[in-house]
C-alpha cells in the first residue's frame, strides 16, 4: 500500500514569491552532481544548469521591471521529447508520471533537446571534472554523467524514491511535504512547492487551484506538471 499507490508529482512555483535569487540553481547542481563547465563554455551556451531563471526586462527606464521565471523540465504528461528518442532513453514512468531520462541508454542524438519547447535539456558536451577531492561531495544517489549523453531535471527522483522507501518501511503513505526536490528545499522564499497531485489535501493541489495558476506553453498540449502562479504587481 504505502508508497506503491499511483502518484502524480506536481510542482507549483509562485512567481510572486520568487525573487530570482538563483539559490535553486546552485542547490540543484549540488544535489544532482551537475557539472560546472567554466566561463568559456557558459559563454557559448553550454552551461549544464538543470534549472535556470528565465529573466525578461519589461518596460523602459525608469519604469523598467525585471521578471524571472524558474524554468526546468516540466515533466510533461505528453512530453515531446519522449517519442523522438530512438532508443527509449527518455520515457514516461507510469508509476510516478514523470519524464525519465535513462542515462545509460542514451546514445546522444540530442533530438529530445531539440524537441523540448522548454529548452530544459542539457547535453554533456565533454567529460566534466571534479578535481580531487571535490568529487567527494558527489551524491551517491545520482549517476555522474559522462560525455555524449543528455540530462535534465528529474524532479529529484532519488528523493522521491528515498521518501517512498522510508514510508514503505514504516507502513504509511508518503506524507505531503515529505518529498522536497533540492530547489524547493533551498528556496528562501518558499516559492517552490512540491507534492502529490493525487492527494486531495496536498499543498500543491490547494495552491494550484489559485486563480493565478497557469502552465507554461500550455497551448502546446504538453500537459506540463509544473504549475506557475503568476506574479502580481501593485501599480503606483
Amino acid at each position: 500500500m504505502a508508497g506503491e499507490e499511483h502518484t502524480k508529482w506536481v510542482m507549483v512555483i509562485d512567481l510572486d514569491r520568487c525573487t530570482g535569487c538563483n539559490a535553486c540553481v546552485t542547490a540543484c547542481a549540488m544535489e544532482n552532481n551537475v557539472a560546472f563547465a567554466g566561463e568559456e563554455e557558459n559563454a557559448y551556451g553550454r552551461g549544464m544548469h538543470w534549472i535556470r531563471l528565465v529573466r525578461y526586462w519589461e518596460g523602459e527606464y525608469p519604469e523598467v521591471q525585471m521578471r524571472t521565471m524558474p524554468m526546468m523540465c516540466q515533466q510533461c504528461s505528453n512530453a515531446p521529447c519522449e517519442p523522438v528518442c530512438p532508443v527509449f532513453a527518455t520515457l514516461h514512468s507510469e508509476a510516478e508520471e514523470l519524464n525519465i531520462q535513462v542515462y545509460n541508454r542514451c546514445i546522444g542524438t540530442r533530438y529530445c533537446a531539440n524537441n523540448c519547447p522548454y529548452i530544459a535539456r542539457t547535453f554533456n558536451w565533454f567529460d566534466y571534472e571534479w578535481p580531487e577531492p571535490m568529487n567527494y561531495y558527489l551524491n551517491p544517489d545520482v549517476t555522474v554523467r559522462r560525455r555524449g549523453i543528455m540530462e535534465k531535471c528529474t524532479f529529484c527522483i532519488q528523493r522521491i524514491r528515498r521518501a517512498q522507501e522510508e514510508a514503505r518501511l514504516e507502513g504509511r503513505p508518503v506524507r505531503d511535504g515529505e518529498v522536497q526536490p533540492a530547489c524547493a528545499q533551498a528556496c528562501p522564499t518558499d516559492a517552490i512547492v512540491f507534492g502529490n497531485w493525487q492527494d486531495p489535501h496536498s499543498k500543491v493541489r490547494q495552491l494550484a487551484e489559485s486563480q493565478r495558476g497557469f502552465k507554461f506553453l500550455e497551448e502546446l498540449g504538453t500537459e506540463p506538471k509544473v504549475i506557475y502562479l503568476s506574479s502580481q504587481r501593485h501599480e503606483f
Binding site: 563554455e41 557559448y44 551556451g45 553550454r46 552551461g47 528565465v54 529573466r55 525578461y56 524554468m71 515531446p80 517519442p83 523522438v84 528518442c85 530512438p86 532508443v87 527509449f88 541508454r105 542514451c106 546514445i107 546522444g108 542524438t109 540530442r110 533530438y111 533537446a113 531539440n114 524537441n115 519547447p117 522548454y118 529548452i119 542539457t122 547535453f123 554533456n124 558536451w125 565533454f126 567529460d127 560525455r147 555524449g148 549523453i149 543528455m150 506553453l217 502546446l220 504538453t222
Partner: protein, 477 residues
C-alpha cells in the same frame, strides 16, 4: 529495327550535324565502345594516382582523424550548443541524402519514362547515389554523443528484450536509409553485371580475377537477360517510392518536432524537390569532371546531356521555389511571435547572408542562366551551375537546421551557432571521401553502361521524312 534506311547523299551534311548532336544515332560498334570504356577505366595515370592518394590522405585526416578526436573528446568540439543541438553534421547529412537522389532520379525515373538521353550517364549518377548515401550514412553516427552505442538503434533481440522505439523518426531514418542504401546499391549493381562480364572478357591479370568474381559468371543468355531486365524494371519502380520516402522521412526529422520553423506539413515535398535539385545539379558537375578527366568520355557525354540536365534543373529549381515560397509566405503571414522572429532572423538576422545565398544560388542564378540553350550546352557552365546550386542547397539546409533552432518560444534561450573547425573539417572530409570513392570507382567499374548505350543505338535510327532526316526511336524494351 536498328538497320538504317539508306539516306540520300544530299542529306549527309545534315546527318553529320545530327550525329554530332545525338550520341544514340552516332553509332559506333560495340567493340569500339567497349574499348573506349575500358581504356577510360584502366587509365590509372600518375595524375590519377596522385589525386587519389591526396584525396585519401585528406579524408583520413579531415574526416576520420577529426571524427576520432571528436569521439574521444566529446561533442563539445562541434560548434553546437544549447539550444542549437544539431549543427553542421545534420546539415551535411541532409545535404548528402539530397545528393543521393540524383542517381535514382536520373536512372529510375528517366528509365520508367523511357527518357533515352539518360543512357550514358545512368551509372555515373547511380554511383553518386551510393557514395553520397555512404557519406550521409556516416553523419548519424558522427553526430551521436556516444557513437560506440549506435547499435542500440538496430532491432536485435537482446537479453532485456529492449527494442528501439519505432515511433521515433530517427528509427524511421535508420530503416529508410538502409533500405535506400541497399536498394540503390543493388540497383547500381544489377545493370552493371553485363558490363562487368564484358570487362572480364577483355581484361587480364588482377582485373580479370576481380571481374570474374563480380560478374557472377554472366553470359548474356536469354534467361539471364529476361530476369535481369525484369528485375531492373521492378527496381526502377520500387526505388522511386523508396527515394521519396527517404527524403520525406529526413524532412520529418524536422517536421514532426514541436519546433517553430520546422513544424511544417510542406517539408516532405519541399525536401524532396530540394534533394532532386541538388542531385541533378551534382550530376551536372560530376559529369563534367568525368567528361574532362577521363578518356573517351566526350563521345559518351555530350552537350545534349548537359542541355537536358539544364532543363531539368531549371524545372526543378522552379518547383523548389514554389515549395520554398509556399513555406515562406505562410510563416510570414502567420502572427506567431516566434515564427515572425524566425522569419526576421532568416532575412535580416545573423543568418541572413546564408539565407540570401540560398535564394540567389537556388533561384536567381539558375533562372538567369538556364533558360539559355547555348549556356546549357556548355559543360563548364553546367559544372558551375551544379556547384552553385549545391552551395545554395547546403545553405538551405544550414538555415533550416541551425537557423530554426536558434530561435524558440523562450527568447531568453535564443542562440547563435558557429560551426567549429572540427565540424568543418568533418564536413569537408565527406566531400573528399566522396571524390575519393568516386575516383576509385571510376577506375574499377565501367562508368558507361555500354550495353544500355548499344541498346539505345539499336532503338534509334535516322529516317528521311520529306526532305529532311529525323531520328526515330523504336521501342526496344
Amino acid at each position: 529495327m536498328h538497320s538504317e534506311t539508306p539516306l540520300p547523299a544530299e542529306l549527309h551534311g545534315q546527318v553529320e550535324e545530327l550525329r554530332k548532336e545525338h550520341l544514340l544515332i552516332d553509332v559506333r560498334p560495340r567493340e569500339e565502345m567497349n574499348r573506349m570504356v575500358l581504356e577510360a577505366m584502366e587509365d590509372t595515370s600518375r595524375e590519377w594516382k596522385w589525386a587519389m592518394a591526396f584525396l585519401g590522405l585528406v579524408t583520413v585526416v579531415t574526416l576520420f582523424g577529426a571524427w576520432a578526436y571528436l569521439m574521444s573528446t566529446g561533442m563539445g568540439l562541434a560548434g553546437i550548443r544549447r539550444p542549437i543541438f544539431w549543427g553542421l553534421f545534420i546539415v551535411s547529412f541532409v545535404f548528402w541524402i539530397g545528393i543521393s537522389h540524383a542517381g535514382t532520379f536520373v536512372s529510375a525515373i528517366l528509365r520508367v519514362f523511357k527518357a533515352e538521353f539518360r543512357r550514358p550517364f545512368t551509372r555515373a549518377a547511380e554511383l553518386m547515389t551510393t557514395f553520397a548515401l555512404m557519406g550521409a550514412g556516416l553523419y548519424p553516427l558522427i553526430h551521436l554523443g556516444r557513437t560506440w552505442r549506435f547499435y542500440w538503434m538496430v532491432p536485435y533481440p537482446n537479453q532485456r528484450w529492449l527494442w528501439p522505439n519505432f515511433r521515433s523518426p530517427l528509427v524511421w531514418d535508420f530503416f529508410a536509409i538502409n533500405t535506400y542504401l541497399i536498394g540503390s546499391t543493388l540497383y547500381l549493381y544489377l545493370p552493371l553485371i553485363p558490363d562487368l562480364a564484358m570487362a572480364r572478357d577483355k581484361s587480364t591479370g588482377w582485373r580479370k580475377k576481380l571481374y570474374t568474381i563480380l560478374s557472377l559468371g554472366w553470359r548474356g543468355t536469354e534467361e539471364e537477360w529476361r530476369h535481369l531486365t525484369k528485375a531492373i524494371q521492378i527496381f526502377a519502380w520500387a526505388i522511386i517510392p523508396v527515394m521519396f520516402s527517404v527524403h520525406t522521412i529526413v524532412s520529418w526529422d524536422f517536421a514532426v518536432a514541436m519546433k517553430l520553423g520546422w513544424h511544417s506539413t510542406i517539408f516532405g515535398p519541399y525536401f524532396i524537390t530540394g534533394a532532386i535539385l541538388s542531385g541533378i545539379a551534382a550530376v551536372g558537375s560530376v559529369l563534367y569532371l568525368v567528361r574532362t578527366t577521363m578518356k573517351n568520355m566526350t563521345y559518351f557525354i555530350r552537350p545534349e546531356h548537359f542541355d537536358t540536365l539544364g532543363k531539368l534543373l531549371l524545372i526543378i529549381s522552379m518547383g523548389w521555389t514554389y515549395f520554398f515560397f509556399n513555406e515562406f509566405i505562410l510563416e510570414w503571414y502567420g502572427g506567431e511571435h516566434t515564427v515572425k522572429e524566425i522569419i526576421r532572423f532568416y532575412t535580416q538576422g545573423d543568418i541572413a547572408p546564408v539565407w540570401w545565398l540560398m535564394v540567389i544560388c537556388n533561384i536567381f542564378i539558375p533562372w538567369a542562366v538556364l533558360w539559355n540553350r547555348n549556356w546549357r550546352r556548355k559543360p563548364w557552365v553546367m559544372f558551375l551551375m551544379g556547384l552553385i546550386v549545391n552551395v545554395g542547397m547546403y545553405a538551405e539546409r544550414y538555415v533550416i537546421v541551425t537557423g530554426a533552432l536558434s530561435r524558440n518560444r523562450i527568447p531568453f534561450d535564443w542562440g547563435w551557432y558557429q560551426p567549429s573547425l572540427v565540424e568543418i573539417s568533418i564536413a569537408f572530409g565527406t566531400f573528399t571521401l566522396f571524390l575519393f570513392m568516386y575516383g576509385m570507382a571510376s577506375r574499377l567499374i565501367p562508368l558507361i553502361p555500354v550495353w544500355e548505350v548499344e541498346e539505345g543505338h539499336h532503338a534509334h535510327s535516322l529516317r528521311k521524312v520529306g526532305k529532311t532526316v529525323v531520328p526515330s526511336v523504336a521501342d526496344l524494351e
